[in-house]
């Protein structure tokens, strides 16, 4: 008797709740914490308010590697989210996961939503497109590496604060002067491999790996031990020895050292701007510039490549759900939404249209430097070397490169040995990935 009552009560409750949520829920796992998370929730709220049929539910799952690991585990257990935000180094892993992901181009055409891959900046679209020209994931938050200068420190060292060094030669001279003026930390860099190997290669139009930086096949090999790479890393090693370069770790730890005024020059993500603007306000003047280049390299500077993340659609859901995903992506593609995301977060506007709209709004006049990243990404038409990169298990590969770079900065290895070792160890990882994804 009691049990019967309970069962019917439960049944009634579940029927009722099903009636209350006739909306189809689309689950989105992401890694945008803090202010970025708020901006992201703003987007989904706007979408949910704009229509009745679907409801996008954003879930913060920790850092990029954490949410990717969580999604892989969830997929193996059969309850993955619809949309997963994956950082750029995870791209190859996702692309190789046949059966686990649905190309975004297919999701859009199946749902008959308008989708124009050509609208995206080539440096953005290229990163997420396969060799046949299909866009596999939806570009969302893209950044690139830029060069920050503390103008007050430049003034103190007798340098022209409005002329940031353009080449590494000028950079070296400025660094010496800054040091002589008593600057404790002259130069530091976030994301050492991303800046000094990956973007460095694209910026000088040299390959990071064979097969179009891995884009044309899994049988790619690293090429990071070229004479130019060795020369650059040797230079950094010497700067470290002379106290002109201070190493700050493998992620964005360097940014805090610049925004506190400790370091006078910084290369790191465009995403650092929001924080620097806030922390340096009233303390010192600063500027955003193109990253330096070696002026004797033919064709340099080329264009820089992106970082950040894109949205992947995971398989195994109902067709109706994917219509919702497509609708949401169409919403995110709108120039006004793109501009909102770009201006609130500091990420790059990823379509030309969004950039134009933002410029017309006068945002760049009020926030000088906010458009440096776009200009750098589109500096020249992208080549095979500057479209991006795609290496299997590059989370591990990048770590190997960074380990070897650290050995150089610590004076334990010379640049040639370190980069030879990085190439050899990196290739082992690539071969293993190739074997696992035959």
């Amino acid at each position: 008797m009691h049990r019967k009552l309970l069962v019917s009560a439960l049944l009634g409750a579940s029927l009722f709740s099903a009636g209350a949520q006739a909306q189809t829920e689309i689950v989105w796992w992401h890694s945008m914490g803090g202010a970025l998370g708020e901006a992201l929730n703003g987007l989904t709220n706007q979408f949910n308010a704009s229509q009745k049929e679907f409801k996008v539910v954003p879930v913060f799952k920790g850092t990029y590697p954490e949410s990717m690991t969580a999604a892989i585990a969830a997929f193996r257990a059969g309850n993955a989210p619809h949309i997963l935000q994956v950082f750029e180094v995870g791209t190859a892993t996702m692309m190789a996961a046949k059966g686990a992901v649905i190309p975004v181009a297919k999701v859009m055409t199946d749902a008959k939503e308008v989708f124009e891959p050509k609208a995206y900046l080539p440096a953005v679209a290229g990163y997420y497109t396969d060799t046949k020209g299909n866009m596999l994931s939806f570009p969302f938050n893209s950044s690139t590496v830029v060069f920050y200068v503390n103008k007050d420190a430049f003034k103190k060292a007798g340098l022209d604060p409005n002329k940031a060094p353009k080449t590494w030669k000028e950079f070296g001279a400025a660094a010496e002067k800054l040091k002589a003026s008593g600057q404790q930390c002259v130069y530091t860099s976030g994301w050492p491999s991303w800046m000094h190997i990956e973007n460095f290669s694209a910026w000088h139009n040299v390959p990071i790996g064979t097969k179009q930086n891995g884009m044309a096949g899994l049988d790619t090999e690293f090429k990071v031990n070229s004479p130019l790479h060795v020369r650059h890393l040797t230079m950094l090693g010497e700067m470290a020895k002379k106290g002109l370069f201070t190493y700050s770790g493998r992620t964005n730890q360097a940014e805090a050292r610049f925004s506190s005024g400790e370091c006078a020059m910084l290369t790191s993500s465009t995403g650092a701007q929001a924080n620097i603007r806030r922390l340096a306000a009233g303390k010192f003047e600063w500027s955003v510039n193109f990253i330096p280049y070696h002026d004797d390299v033919k064709g340099a500077p080329q264009n820089s490549i992106i970082g950040g993340a894109s949205l992947w659609v995971l398989s195994g859901k109902k067709a109706q759900d994917y219509r919702g995903v497509a609708k949401f992506f169409a919403f995110l593609s709108k120039p006004a939404i793109q501009m909102q995301w770009h201006t609130t977060t500091g990420y790059v506007p990823i379509t030309m249209q969004a950039y134009e709209v933002t410029r017309a709004s006068g945002f760049y006049d009020k926030n000088p430097g906010a458009d440096v990243a776009v200009k750098q990404l589109t500096n020249k038409p992208a080549t095979e070397n500057s479209k991006g990169l795609r290496f299997g298990n590059f989370v591990q590969g990048r770590e190997v490169i960074e380990e070897e770079m650290e050995a150089v900065f610590a004076g334990k290895k010379d640049a040639k040995t370190a980069l030879d070792d990085a190439t050899r160890r990196g290739n082992d990882i690539l071969r293993k990935f190739q074997a696992a994804n035959k």
């Binding site: 997929f75 892993t93 059966g99 686990a100 700050s248 989370v395 591990q396 770590e399 082992d428 696992a436």
Partner: protein, 293 residues
């Protein structure tokens, strides 16, 4: 007199043991068996393609010089942690044992760090010694020492050893204190009457009587250094710089969880498992004989 409990029923003892056995099977044997199975597989991240590769994962480990480096780092780390941890806590225990007034306060304070989680200990030490903002760094810089564990491997090692030892001292301290208190006073007094000074008494009477405790702590400390220090590493150096603090257990985590290489990671944990088994065998073979219950 028979000390053992004798059951008349044939099934009751098994029933009473069942929960414990179930826990052991579900949380220990099953995952261990899975690790062994996975160590023979090569899978992509999402598990959509699986190949049985026999010993390939082991082969690639044993030909990787960086894996041997992780062994060396782990050996150095565990010797330092176990050695320093035991030495310091023995000194502290001897001191605390002699204190008469306020002994309880000293003892309590010395036991406190044990309640701190490994990750918290890591963050704490990491902050104090942070290369640009650390308070200790500031003092060291004033003394002319170039402290920067982000790039200097030996300093990074020193930092994690300090944090790990600091956390383990309490545990060792407790055991040593208990050991010291069970040393018969009559022996010490007899030695004193015979004219032996405090140092001599410690060397010839107290320390030999403490030796079972010391040996037990040695094994426990080495196991601690092998496995429980994961949190400290993850919160500070994350294995860097250039692999200088890459312990075996951290590499298992990194390769498996972050790099999504389950096969390689499983092979490493199987190897680790054998190391622990060896350590446990040593403990039971040699220590149990010497310990007087």
């Amino acid at each position: 007199m028979e000390k053992r409990v004798v059951f008349r029923s044939a099934w009751l003892p098994y029933l009473l043991l069942a929960p414990q056995i179930a826990v052991t099977i579900v949380f220990f044997f099953w995952p261990a068996a899975q690790a062994v199975w996975y160590s023979f597989l090569l899978q992509d991240a999402f598990g959509s393609s699986t190949q049985f590769v026999w010993f390939e994962n082991y082969q690639s480990l044993l030909t990787d010089s960086h894996y041997y480096d992780a062994f060396k780092v782990t050996a150095l780390f565990s010797v330092l942690v176990a050695g320093l941890g035991i030495l310091l806590s023995l000194v502290l225990a001897v001191m605390a044992d002699r204190v008469v007034r306020g002994a309880l306060a000293y003892k309590t304070l010395l036991i406190w760090p044990y309640a701190v989680a490994a990750a918290v200990a890591g963050v704490l030490w990491g902050f104090m010694f942070a290369p640009s903002i650390g308070i200790v760094t500031y003092v060291l810089k004033g003394m002319g020492i170039d402290w920067d564990w982000l790039i200097k491997g030996d300093q990074a090692m020193l930092l994690v050893v300090m944090a790990a030892v600091w956390k383990q001292i309490s545990y060792n301290f407790l055991f040593f204190l208990a050991g010291l208190q069970s040393v018969p006073r009559s022996l010490i007094e007899a030695a004193a009457i015979d004219g032996a000074g405090p140092a001599r008494r410690f060397r010839d009477i107290v320390f030999p009587l403490l030796s079972p405790t010391t040996f037990f702590l040695l094994v426990v400390n080495i196991v601690y250094a092998f496995f429980d220090t994961f949190g400290i590493i993850d919160a500070t150096t994350q294995g860097g710089p250039a692999g200088a603090t890459q312990l075996l257990v951290y590499k298992v985590y990194y390769d498996g969880v972050k790099a999504a290489d389950l096969g390689g990671s499983s092979a490493q944990s199987v190897i680790l498992m054998f190391i622990v088994i060896a350590l446990t065998v040593i403990q039971f073979r040699f220590v149990e004989k010497k310990v007087n219950y």
